[in-house]
């Protein structure tokens, strides 16, 4: 059989990137700050969000979208804060994509939001590829995960503007090496902002909340 070659030259992420751009335009209009939280399973995303929603309640209108492969437990935990929360059950998919966010928003009516948090599926590989239209991508890693985590998942850390080192309350007990962690973070993203915190004992929470408040304010100003 004679064959010929037909050039295509298409980026597989093109569709997701276009949908993400549409989401970004929509959130720019509504002045909603969108935060995409990435981490391995168990780094503390839901716990941090629970604490964040609780502490910002009354001050800002905040909603949360939670991606999980199977259960709705995280959404139930977050809903206790009283904030509008919606679960996206991704089944076989190991990450959220812009299409899932768009569809969830279409079926959900959280009212006007100052900030929308997206808890991505616990995974540091796949979610890194998918732009969700967020303003801030924050990657969490806990003091128990090994200081070289960023070296193992360079793209997740390279594409995040903020690294949250979580469970700092147990840093000493597990012999966490702060310098080594910072060195590996800087090796994949020299200018990444780093915040150490604990949702358990509250350490570092003020720094995180102030950083959020600043971003929420400037996003809503830009929308007017």
């Amino acid at each position: 059989m004679k064959l010929r070659v037909v050039e295509i030259q298409a980026n597989i992420m093109r569709k997701n990137d276009a949908l993400a751009a549409a989401l970004r335009a929509r959130f720019a209009k509504s002045g909603t700050l969108v935060v995409n939280l990435l981490s391995s399973p168990g780094s503390g995303k839901t716990t941090l969000l629970e604490e964040t929603l609780r502490r910002l309640a009354g001050r800002y209108r905040i909603g949360a979208l939670v991606g999980d492969q199977a259960t709705e437990n995280d959404a139930l935990r977050l809903a206790r804060s009283g904030a509008p929360v919606r679960q996206i059950t991704t089944a076989a998919e190991c990450r959220l994509d812009a299409d899932m966010i768009g569809k969830a928003l279409a079926e959900w009516n959280p009212g006007p939001l100052d900030a929308l948090f997206i808890e991505n599926v616990g995974n540091l590989i796949c979610p890194a590829e998918y732009d969700l239209g967020e303003d801030l991508r924050a990657v969490l890693f806990s003091v128990t995960e090994g200081e070289d985590k960023p070296l193992k998942y360079p793209l997740a850390f390279n594409t995040s503007q903020l690294a949250l080192i979580t469970k700092i309350d147990i840093a000493q007990a597990v012999g966490f090496d702060r310098q080594a962690a910072e060195r590996s973070l800087r090796a994949v993203h020299p200018s990444i902002e780093i915040v150490e915190l604990s949702a358990r004992n509250g350490q570092g929470m003020d720094t995180w909340l102030e950083l959020l408040a600043r971003r929420i304010e400037s996003k809503s100003l830009a929308a007017v």
Partner: protein, 115 residues
């Protein structure tokens, strides 16, 4: 881990291009996959066979070109290839380089079709 959805998106791209050119059968597809994309080669090959099974690309061969990571080192003012597992450090001067030049590719390059 998202190889199946990548394979399905690949198939969309291939089907679209084939439809545009009136092509009815595809025997091979060439793709470029960056080392940072987190795509496992074997899983993608397997997913491709599944995804393409009942399409115009059924039984086609997926040819994967692996693209190694390259960064632009600001200090050397040159493109460099970091060693795997060292983050994105310049292997020559040790500077960290935030600018990824290559290694994130997820691209369909071409397809082979009966002449």
């Amino acid at each position: 881990m998202h190889e199946l959805s990548v394979a399905l998106t690949l198939l969309d791209g291939v089907s679209e291009a084939a439809l545009r050119d009136g092509i009815e059968r595809v025997t091979a597809v060439h793709v470029r996959i960056g080392a940072l994309s987190g795509i496992a080669r074997d899983a993608l090959l397997f997913s491709w066979d599944m995804a393409s099974a009942e399409s115009i690309a059924a039984g086609s061969e997926l040819r994967i070109e692996d693209v190694p990571v390259a960064v632009f080192c600001e200090r050397c003012k040159r493109e460099r290839s970091p060693a795997p597992g060292t983050g994105l450090l310049c292997p020559v001067c040790g500077a960290a380089s935030p600018t990824i030049v290559r290694g994130r590719e997820l691209q369909i390059v071409a397809m082979e079709v009966p002449a």
